[in-house]
């Protein structure tokens, strides 16, 4: 059945190396992959005629039907240790999509289950089957469907009931080769009343062209808390297409801070489902781009049940001829009474040719809700500049400080100090003029 002709050359090419898994020890997994392949065959590559892709022309990707890396790169710790974070006790490293046990560091002093998905899937089959592929909407998202078709290695984090993991867990996805597609996958399961901080970090060793296709699924059970930090610092020539879905149960909390710095074209879809009462999320994003980069962030916060709370701040700093896109949809469904939701999109243009398209989208079907949203696009505020100059700072210093601060407001929300300092340096470097 998977031999059906794909209606899209690019997608057909992408499925060329796909083969029916030989082992059938996990029929549910084979079925999941097959379903995903069917979806790829049924779906089309999006174009700018699709509402969800209106501002992001991904047609350049069609010319790059890269396959998965055949040979993993032989990396040593010293090649990549500058990416390591002192605070993280657990580190999983993926090289061009493949898990590298040698470069990873997994301590077992916790009850948590953490490791490579493909290695742990047999012994934790039932827990994983309940969640894997259950949140991401791959039936309507061709990239998530491709990712699921090729599902193999990935990061699995399962935090048991009542368990608090104090040190952050670092998931490091390293691209080393040109002209390959890496399928990155994360599954984070936070059982009731547990607490975990996860850093999803995409980096490159070379400024070359490759594709990252990433899918992350996060299940947050009753009263659990997940702090999710996502750093996209790919090569400036790379394509990064990512989908993350978080499902929040009663009284649970999800904090997300995503930073997009790299990639020629990047697209991040973040879907947060407040699936039960009293769930809370705080969604913060920063895109800092220059040159010809395009960074597109689509978020969908779905209030399904009463007493939910969502707070969102998304910022873009755009230089040269770069182009930032933000589409922030907030849905308040009929049962989601007493929802409290705020959304703010703030955009700073550093050059006359920089472009931002921002689209806050509020859909409210409940009558007792508190929702506020706003968007601004522009240059630095003259009153702020004057305030700083009146304290002795030169105009250029004032401008540099305010531009830096514009981005730093998001970085401040990253609870991992060493990572925050790394990013502050990046923002500093990219915002300072002489």
């Amino acid at each position: 059945m998977n031999e059906a002709v794909c209606n899209d050359d690019y997608l057909a090419n992408m499925l060329k190396t796909w083969s029916e898994p030989s082992t059938s020890t996990l029929p549910w997994l084979d079925q999941l992959r097959s379903e995903a392949v069917d979806c790829v065959n049924a779906l089309k590559m999006p174009t700018t005629r699709d509402e969800e892709w209106r501002f992001t022309d991904i047609s350049p990707l069609i010319k790059l039907p890269f396959q998965v890396a055949k040979e993993p790169s032989q990396l040593k710790i010293k090649d990549i240790d500058h990416f390591f974070l002192g605070e993280a006790k657990i580190r999983m490293v993926f090289v061009d999509g493949q898990y590298s046990p040698q470069l990873s560091c997994i301590t077992h002093d916790n009850d948590i289950i953490v490791g490579n998905l493909s290695a742990l899937i047999s012994c934790h089959s039932s827990e994983i089957a309940t969640h894997l592929g259950q949140y991401t909407d791959f039936k309507n998202n061709v990239f998530a469907a491709l990712n699921t078709s090729y599902l193999h290695d990935g990061a699995l984090i399962l935090v048991p009931h009542n368990k608090s993991v104090t040190a952050p867990i670092h998931l490091l996805f390293i691209s080393t080769q040109k002209e390959v597609t890496s399928y990155s996958r994360c599954l984070i399961i936070a059982e009731s009343s547990s607490n975990v901080t996860v850093i999803e970090d995409y980096v490159a060793l070379q400024e070359v062209t490759y594709v990252t296709n990433s899918v992350t699924e996060i299940s947050i059970a009753d009263n659990a808390q997940v702090n999710h930090i996502r750093i996209q610092r790919e090569s400036d020539q790379a394509f990064h297409i990512a989908d993350c879905t978080a499902s929040l149960a009663q009284g649970s909390q999800y904090k997300s801070t995503s930073v997009a710095l790299g990639a020629r074209i990047s697209r991040y879809d973040l879907n947060v489902k407040l699936a039960d009462e009293g769930a809370e999320c705080s969604i913060n994003g920063l895109a800092l781009i220059k040159g010809q980069q395009l960074a597109d962030t689509h978020t969908f916060i779905d209030h399904i049940k009463p007493n939910g709370c969502s707070q969102q701040l998304h910022k873009c700093i755009v230089d040269d001829t770069a182009h930032a896109v933000f589409n922030g949809k907030i849905m308040v469904r009929p049962k989601a009474q007493c929802t409290n939701s705020t959304q703010s999109s703030r955009n700073l243009l550093l050059s006359g040719k920089a472009q931002v398209d921002t689209k806050p989208q509020l859909e409210i079907f409940a009558d007792d809700v508190k929702c506020a949203h706003g968007a601004t696009v522009g240059q630095l505020d003259n009153e702020e500049i004057f305030y700083l100059r009146s304290r002795g700072l030169s105009e250029i210093t004032a401008r540099n400080l305010l531009t830096y601060a514009f981005g730093a407001e998001i970085l401040e929300r990253i609870p991992v100090i060493s990572l925050r300092h790394q990013l502050e340096q990046t923002v500093l470097k990219q915002t300072q003029r002489n």
């Binding site: 003259n382 009153e383 702020e384 004057f386 305030y387 700083l388 100059r389 009146s390 304290r391 002795g392 700072l393 030169s394 105009e395 210093t397 004032a398 400080l401 305010l402 830096y404 601060a405 514009f406 981005g407 730093a408 407001e409 970085l411 401040e412």
Partner: protein, 264 residues
């Protein structure tokens, strides 16, 4: 304090200024000597705030005539930052919030910039921390305000204290306090006033822009000026503020009209 031998810091002569092409200042004359405290009072729209912005160098306010000499130099030759470094300080009526910049980072940057300009020693973060904490005691400020973003989420009173803290750090020759008392409860007013009094000395001067006599119970002015329609229409001692408090502004205005009538 008034001392006839003290030197002139600021000399404003026939100052006219416009904002959005509307003339707001219509001939201000004011001389300020070191050691003096001047209060400028007047109804809303009389031009008080405009005067403060013109002195600090805000680009939206255009000087159309007149002159201001600061310690013998033409003030209008200087950019806002040069004025600040030379010793002009404006405490804002509405201090600006700067999310993403820690207050201690901002305060140190401003302090070191001004210090460097004056050929004095700059402080590293640790040295500065001790120094600024000491100054904060003057204003009974909680040191946690150092780690927060500049003015972000500060209450009205906290913002005003942060302004006076900057004044204490930058040691200006002339401080212009634009409605520093607005939005302060009586305890905060007392603390802020106490801070200002400790900074005031015979080498510097202070201009207080205010609506209310209340502030002047704590910071006693040597001169009280009443502004109306972009001019100073009456100058007196501290007792003038008390008279305004009980009688309002109308009588000053009427007196002024009569005086002008006599002239013309």
């Amino acid at each position: 304090m008034i001392d006839k031998d003290s030197k002139t810091l600021l000399e404003i002569r026939d100052l006219h200024a416009t904002v959005n092409n509307i003339e707001v200042l219509k001939g201000i004359n004011l001389t300020i000597k070191s050691g003096e405290i001047h209060a400028i009072m007047g109804v809303n729209g009389s031009g008080k705030s405009t005067l403060t912005k013109v002195l600090a160098g805000h680009s939206a306010y255009i000087v159309t005539a007149g002159s201001v000499m600061f310690e013998g130099k033409d003030l209008f030759e200087l950019e806002p930052e040069e004025r600040a470094r030379a010793g002009i300080f404006l405490a804002f009526q509405y201090p600006i919030e700067i999310p993403g910049v820690a207050n201690n980072q901002f305060l140190r940057l401003a302090y070191n910039t001004v210090q460097a300009q004056r050929g004095k020693e700059e402080l590293d973060p640790l040295e500065f921390d001790d120094f600024v904490r000491d100054k904060m005691k003057l204003l009974e400020m909680n040191p946690e305000f150092l780690d927060r973003s500049v003015n972000e989420g500060f209450s009205g009173g906290e913002k005003k204290r942060n302004e006076i803290l900057q004044m204490a750090l930058l040691e200006p020759r002339i401080s212009i306090l634009d409605e520093t008392d607005s939005g302060l409860d009586i305890d905060a007013l007392r603390i802020v006033a106490n801070g200002v009094n400790q900074i005031a000395n015979k080498e510097n001067a202070i201009i207080l822009v205010t609506h209310y006599q209340r502030l002047l119970d704590y910071i006693v002015p040597d001169y009280v000026h009443v502004m109306e329609s972009g001019r100073i229409i009456k100058t007196g001692g501290k007792e003038l503020a008390l008279a305004l408090e009980t009688r309002g502004y109308e009588w000053v205005s009427a007196e002024n009209r009569t005086a002008e009538g006599v002239v013309s």
